[in-house]
Amino acid sequence: MDVIWEFFRWLYDTQGINLTIFYDDLDRARFLKGIWTTIHLSIVAIVISLMIGVAGAWLQMSKMIWLRNIVQGYIQFFRNTPPLIQLYFFYFAVDATLSSVLGIKGGVLDGYGWAVVSLSFFAGAFNVEIFRAGVEAVPQSTVEAAEALGYNRLQVYRYVTLPLAFRVCLPALNNNLINLLKTTTVAYAIAVPETIYVANQIWSDEYNVLEMMNVVWVIYISLVGFLVWLMHKWEKSLKVPGFGQ
């Protein structure tokens, strides 16, 4: 640890490159916390948005038109408005309304909570469309074979349609989840202490904008790179001889 400390002090003293996050305990702690918040926020929002996608694609196959219309309305709303405005809407409007209706003082959820909700709905809307396209690519004859074996509609979806749809739509899903990870930066706007928010705190205190900007690039490239790697591993593990490709 001391070697690192010495090195970055030396870098600052001799080269003027001030990376406080490596030698200042307070900065390091808050920066690591910021990265962790980004990771945490991304994971939770990815998981919830996938659940929304799976459920939404199921509801879109419903025989009830009004139900399909509700899902369609949800998709259009969240696809065609900016995620920052969605976040403001939840954090300010929805929170205030819910608090007064439920009589809760100090808000229903904190900034982090609303960021999770807002980002999940945002990415979930795309996931519904992505899964639906995958579901439509599954041959009707395969579904019919499952029905002939006595599978009910939910069982067909769970054991046949969805696993096959997943394999078809993974590239599109990949893109959307990367996009979600990048979009977590909007949480900055409601003071969720994620990476950009803490980087901003640090460069305001230390006057090292250029250094921190570069660090932030590296962080996001690494996070996205890791997600891409993970999705590729997943894609590989799902690969089945003679299907897709």
């Binding site: 041959p139 004859s141 395969t142 019919e144 074979a145 499952a146 029905e147 002939a148 074996l149 006595g150 599978y151 009910n152 069982q155 054991y159 046949v160 696993p163 096959l164 394999r167 799902l238 089945v240 001889p241 003679g242 299907f243």
Partner: protein, 251 residues
């Protein structure tokens, strides 16, 4: 309504005056036929005559507009029908095999009993391995459908249906998509099934096979049964000009 219990001396499947239209197109125009337990019947006829439609009605994959179909006394097109119960009794094999491509041969066979009938995994596996043997696919348990030939896939599909322990099997042109060399291995499997006493309804273009295996042949054309009879009479002594013309083209 409680029907008197079905007994084996009554038809296992009874089809009475069934009508089915797709929009304006009337595909079945009053079809009636009975199948007794252990019987093997073959349905032959020109393309588009409604053969697939008819056998899809039997396991309620499609509904009918008029008439009735009963399987072991149970009305198939009854709003209160327990579809699972029906489909457990009636196995179906398709022209395009329609295996689940993301599951191995063994998993394809095991899935329905485990998922649908909630049977014990180990018991089902034992049964599935026996079925693999029965359709002569030992060693292919862990192959994916994409790694199997058409004939092998079709035999997995037959085993998959048998795993539900059906009382009757429906075969819809199950050899039509196969190479001539692999047709035989599938026909052998079906023949063994029939010899074991399985009730079978086959739609087929394999006339030699139909003649050999069937107890009764039905010839359909444009939604009606034109002529039917035991193979000997049917093939050698057809009365109706349409039957004669069809057999003339095919044989």
């Amino acid at each position: 309504m409680n029907l008197p219990a079905w007994t084996a001396d009554q038809p296992l499947i009874s089809i009475k005056d069934v009508h089915k239209s797709f929009g304006d197109l009337e595909v079945l125009k009053g079809i009636s036929l009975d199948v007794m337990k252990g019987e093997v019947i073959c349905i032959i006829g020109p393309s588009g005559s409604g053969k697939s439609t008819l056998i899809r009605c039997i396991n309620a994959l499609i509904d009918i507009q008029a008439g009735s179909i009963t399987v072991e006394g149970q009305q198939v097109h009854d709003a209160n029908l327990d579809k699972l119960e029906l489909r457990q009794k009636v196995g179906m094999v398709f022209q395009q095999y329609n295996l689940f491509p993301h599951k191995t041969a063994l998993e394809n066979i095991m899935m329905a009993p485990v998922v649908v009938l909630k049977e014990n995994q180990q018991e089902v596996e034992t049964r599935a391995r026996k079925l693999i043997k029965k359709v002569r696919l030992e060693g292919k348990e862990d192959s994916y459908p994409g790694e199997l030939s058409g004939g092998q896939q079709q035999r997995v599909a037959i085993a998959r249906s048998l795993a539900m322990r059906p009382d009757v099997m429906l075969f819809d042109e199950v050899t039509a998509a196969l190479d001539p060399e692999t047709v035989k291995e599938v026909l052998v499997t079906i023949k063994e099934l029939a010899a074991d006493g399985m009730t079978c309804i086959l739609v087929t273009h394999e006339m030699g096979f139909a003649r050999e295996i069937a107890d009764h042949i039905y010839f359909t054309d444009r939604g009606v049964i034109v002529e039917h009879g035991p193979p000997a009479t049917f093939f050698d002594d057809a009365k109706d000009p349409r039957t004669k013309e069809f057999l003339g083209q095919i044989l």
